[in-house]
């Protein structure tokens, strides 16, 4: 069983784009198992950090329901709402604020849900991305095995160590996705002996497909909303 310090060394090597570690991972017969453990460990650690940060942020944030009640009371006293009420006595902000309050209430478990789901999300993203990137790399003439692809792209999840900053309440993470993609590019290039441009397209195919899928879903949702509005 791999020690935690070994896995953290692997993660930090991925974070710092250490090419020798990528090569060693390609030639490692246990690359898949170590990759799985690495992604899981990073997910667990980031989940715990995020939970602590969220918990502290909750303690440092005013009660959203009280705040919303004050906001509603003040908005109801504005000339705009007063004039609207004169025109339409049935006008009320209650349904809108009831929805916002319900939404705010549903967010209070976000920290715990995030902590539990982070390792699962990381593992699923790694596996799905790995499958697409492997197929793309092979179709571009890559020579690596599936285990080598996953072993090398797992190192790229070292970039997620940047998300440990979330242990500080209100802190913002940025740069992890781009650094992770650079790591995936290096991993695919090493695992499959690809040229720079081929590795680039293999690394980007998954995110491009995801972007297109989100665009299609977004357009579809917009079309449904427009149709519903016109029908109504």
């Amino acid at each position: 069983m791999e020690s935690l310090s070994y896995l953290f060394r692997l993660g930090s090597a991925g974070l710092f784009l250490d090419i020798n570690t990528f090569r060693a991972q390609r030639d490692n017969p246990h690359a898949l198992r170590e990759g799985f453990l690495l992604v899981l460990l990073i997910g667990v650690v980031v989940g715990i950090a995020s939970f602590i940060g969220n918990f502290l942020a909750t303690l440092a944030t005013p009660d959203p329901e009280n705040l919303l009640a004050i906001i509603q009371r003040e908005i109801e006293q504005t000339p705009f709402v007063t004039e609207l009420r004169e025109l339409n006595p049935a006008f009320s902000l209650d349904p809108l604020f009831a929805q916002i309050t319900a939404f705010a209430r549903s967010l209070q478990w976000n920290g715990l849900i995030g902590a539990v789901t982070t390792p699962i999300v990381y593992l699923l993203s790694w596996l799905i991305y790995g499958v697409i990137a492997h197929l793309a790399a092979r179709s571009f003439g890559g020579e690596g095995t599936f285990a080598q692809t996953l072993g090398c792209t797992a190192l790229a999840s070292g970039a997620n160590l940047l998300a440990l900053v979330q242990i500080v309440p209100f802190a913002q993470v940025s740069g992890a996705t781009l650094l992770g993609l650079i790591g995936c590019y290096m991993g695919l290039r090493v695992a499959h002996n690809l040229s720079g441009w081929r590795a680039f397209w293999a690394a980007l195919l998954g995110p491009i497909l995801l972007g297109v899928l989100l665009l299609v879903i977004g357009c579809g949702a917009l079309a449904v909303l427009l149709a519903a509005a016109q029908g109504g």
């Binding site: 974070l15 710092f16 784009l17 250490d18 090419i19 020798n20 502290l56 942020a57 909750t58 303690l59 440092a60 944030t61 005013p62 009660d63 009280n66 705040l67 004050i70 906001i71 003040e74 908005i75 006293q77 504005t78 000339p79 705009f80 004039e83 940047l162 900053v165 500080v168 309440p169 209100f170 802190a171 913002q172 993470v173 940025s174 740069g175 781009l178 650094l179 650079i182 590019y185 290096m186 720079g196 441009w197 680039f200």
Partner: protein, 248 residues
């Protein structure tokens, strides 16, 4: 070479430091450490400044209201229809209610005492600043690297990230941007100096002359700006056509 020597070498465009960062297998680690140092310095000073200014709720409230009034004045200058002027009148008459909302948000009780909350916010800004610099640097480096490879460059992405990290060094000047009058000139100097370091770094990594390195650095940002302007024009034309169609 120590971190301070690397920092000084980046600021003085020392070619030896650039070449060493390119060839060092620990170049990325050293580059990230440099970003961490600059980011923490800037973040700590800026958050201390923010802490001082936000310690007094009345002062924060006065700033919020001043911003609100300024925004209404700006919109009044562009309001052309009676409906727009009516909305502005409503907004103007709602200032007391807005002040009450802002006061409620600023002074709302929290489980932790207010000084602890302010310290958390300052700490968050401090630790987030290095990541903001890292993300900006990575985007610039990736776009530059793509252009450089298309222009025939032979350098690798790892070397580009290591050397590109040096371009964050002049942003140590951002620590002084809390001085109101000097804020913009200092930020501009830091940005321009960082750009020169990125151009020098690109020429070292890809073994380009300075003209080609400048082209590599500016190619994609220029294209993106042109594309942005083009898309904005299309959007404006589409909106005008939609409004005209709706009117007729």
């Amino acid at each position: 070479m120590s971190l301070i020597d690397t920092f000084n070498g980046a600021l003085t465009l020392n070619q030896r430091v650039f070449a060493e960062m390119r060839d060092d297998s620990n170049g990325v680690r050293r580059g990230f450490l440099l970003i961490l140092m600059v980011g923490l310095l800037v973040g700590a000073i800026q958050s201390a400044s923010l802490l001082i200014s936000s310690a007094n709720p009345d002062q924060v409230l006065a700033e919020v209201l001043a911003g609100y009034r300024q925004s209404i004045e700006q919109q009044r200058a562009t309001a052309t229809t009676p409906e727009q002027r009516e909305v502005l009148r409503w907004l103007e008459e709602s200032e007391d209610e807005l002040a009450n909302i802002a006061r409620a948000i600023i002074t709302a009780p929290t489980i932790l005492p207010r000084p602890v909350v302010l310290v958390f916010q300052a700490l968050a800004q401090t630790v987030s600043t290095p990541l903001t610099y890292l993300s900006g640097m990575l985007l610039a480096v990736v776009l530059t690297h793509l252009a450089a490879r298309q222009l025939g460059g032979k350098g690798g992405i790892r070397a580009m990230v290591a050397v590109g990290s040096l371009s964050v060094a002049p942003h140590a000047l951002d620590a002084l941007t809390f001085i109101p009058v000097l804020s913009f000139p200092i930020a501009l100097i830091a940005w321009g100096w960082g750009l020169i370091i990125l151009i020098t770094g690109t020429s070292v990594v890809h073994r380009f002359d300075s003209g080609k390195a400048t082209l590599a650095v500016l190619l994609y940002p220029s294209l993106l700006i042109v594309l942005g302007i083009f898309l904005s024009c299309i959007l404006i034309f589409a909106l005008v056509a939609l409004v005209a169609g709706g009117g007729s």
